[in-house]
């Protein structure tokens, strides 16, 4: 202990800060060890929603593979995903050979799943009928507008766009948007903007008494928010770097 205190330099500026962050992440749960099949089916999904598959971070889940399936060719699997725009960050596995394969290529291993995830809803298929030329600009998703109170236990997600709530949001209600969130009634629930990682997203509310606000995974809970002098006021929440800024509207 003494030697440690001698080597410490207490007046040095901290080089880093560790922060907890919630990220929306796609999990690919493999049901069969069949690379060709995966390749074909992924190609079909990409054709449905090309925007979804552009450098999308991915966790490869091998823990739902039936035990009868043989050893997985992990580098091959990652190559297939990579070709379709999915970038593997980590695997989730329970079998010892899968874990060993991941360690061999220096890929992080996550523990097997709890029950926290839901199936991802892909954006609606873009091409129903074959169009001769692909659209140059991606179509703007219309803003989702909610006019009745959002009650505790309800969850509203504006996929690919903004969410506007004209009415009040109760404690225990959850607003999610890929873009910005506007609340014109009393805001007492949770608001998570830019959940796909858009750090430019903002939250606007007339009366900020939220349980939680989050932009691109950086969040503050009401215990912190309550200390803010702007608690209860009309504010906007924006992200700069990894700091959530709350400013008066």
């Amino acid at each position: 202990m003494q030697t440690m205190s001698q080597t410490q330099t207490p007046d040095q500026e901290p080089v880093f800060q560790l922060k907890g962050s919630m990220l929306a992440i796609t999990v690919l749960e493999l049901a069969q060890n069949n690379l060709e099949g995966l390749d074909r089916q992924l190609a079909a999904k990409v054709a449905q929603a090309p925007n979804f598959f552009s450098n999308t971070p991915l966790v490869l889940a091998l823990d739902k593979l039936p035990p009868s399936e043989g050893a997985v060719d992990l580098p091959g699997l990652m190559r297939v995903c990579r070709q379709h725009g999915l970038r593997t960050l980590a695997i989730r596995a329970s079998r010892i050979e899968d874990i060993a394969a991941a360690i061999a290529i220096d890929l992080p291993v996550l523990p097997p799943s709890g029950a926290r995830e839901r199936p991802v809803e892909l954006p609606e298929p873009v091409v129903e009928k074959k169009k001769p030329e692909p659209p140059a600009e991606p179509a703007v998703k219309p803003t989702k507008i909610i006019t009745s109170p959002v009650r505790g236990g309800q969850q509203i997600y504006a996929q690919g766009g903004d969410l506007v709530v004209i009415s009040s949001v109760s404690p225990g209600a959850e607003l999610l948007a890929d873009g910005n969130i506007h609340v014109y009634g009393a805001m007492r629930g949770r608001a998570l903007a830019g959940i796909k990682g858009n750090t430019k997203a903002r939250i606007f509310c007339q009366q900020m008494t939220a349980e939680l606000v989050s932009i691109a995974g950086q969040y503050k809970v009401s215990e912190d928010l309550r200390r803010d002098p702007l608690w209860g006021a009309g504010v906007q929440v924006s992200l700069s770097g990894d700091v959530l800024n709350i400013t008066r509207l």
Binding site: R151, S167, G172, A186
Partner: protein, 270 residues
């Protein structure tokens, strides 16, 4: 056009059955042919509050299962000509009710009655879901207390999303807020939420405020709906509530602390 009215809350013990009995009786008193249906299968109470527990032969589950017809199961109130009760079963549980069975019974009741008052069980599970599913209007009973308000908020969310009207895209269920067990003195001391607080959190039109009253317990034990005790504050408040439900404009009473007279202050307990 018959109306199905659900009395619901989410939380237990807030006064749903007392309210169902009072409102149903009040509607009958004003000349509307009314039936009160107890959806609390397994924990039936309505028959006790209505004072007809000794005359229950067949119940709601019997009718749903086709073991009895409605005429056999409907219990006529002893005091009022056009008031009936459909009791819940004490020996079964909520799974004994099916959506099709409940629909059939309610539609049949709609043919002969002006108002069908559904007394919902606590919770948000099957019994409560079926009680509100077919409703046209809902009375959400709330105590001025945070957990009750939160549960009512959840129930309002379900009314707006999980009812037949919501699923069919028809006009939404008309929602009314009824605050019960209100104690103005405790509100002024800050021990209880005030009417304005509850209204603001729930954002629903206020139908009535029933004061905390000895008369409610007395009436329950005697099997007389408290609305018939027209001397009591709770009975009068329920009367006003029924008038408002029928579209009359009636000022809210019993919201403020009663000023105590000189002798009351000298001799009155609290």
């Amino acid at each position: 056009m018959a109306k199905i009215l659900v009395v619901t809350s989410g939380k237990g013990g807030v006064g749903k059955t007392t309210t169902s009995a009072a409102i149903g009786t009040g509607l009958a008193l004003r000349g509307h042919k009314t039936v009160i249906v107890d959806f609390d299968v397994g924990l039936r109470n309505l028959d006790l509050i209505m004072g007809c527990e000794r005359r229950v032969v067949y119940d709601f589950v019997n009718v749903v299962n086709g073991e009895a017809n409605l005429q056999q199961a409907l219990i006529k109130d002893k005091r009022l000509e056009n008031l009936y009760v459909l009791a819940a079963s004490q020996t079964r549980d909520k799974d004994a009710l099916t959506q099709e069975g409940v629909e059939k019974v309610l539609m049949e009741l709609k043919d002969t009655f002006d108002y069908v008052v559904c007394d919902s069980p606590a919770g948000i599970e099957k019994g409560a879901h079926l009680a509100m599913y077919f409703a046209d209007e809902a009375i959400v009973v709330t105590n001025p207390e945070v957990s009750s308000v939160r549960d009512s908020d959840r129930m309002l969310g379900l009314l707006a999303s999980k009812s037949r009207r919501a699923e069919k895209g028809e006009d939404p269920i008309k929602e009314h807020l009824l605050i019960t067990r209100y104690h103005p003195e405790r509100v002024s001391k800050g021990e209880m939420l005030g009417v304005e607080d509850v209204k603001e959190i729930l954002a629903v039109a206020l139908l009535g405020v029933i004061p905390e009253s000895q008369a409610v317990l007395k009436a329950s034990n005697q099997g007389v709906p408290v609305i018939l005790d027209d001397q009591s504050d709770a009975g009068q408040a329920y009367s006003d509530t029924v008038d408002r439900l029928l579209g009359k404009t009636v000022e809210h009473r019993f919201l403020d602390v009663q000023k105590k007279g000189f002798f009351e202050r000298l001799f009155g307990g609290n």
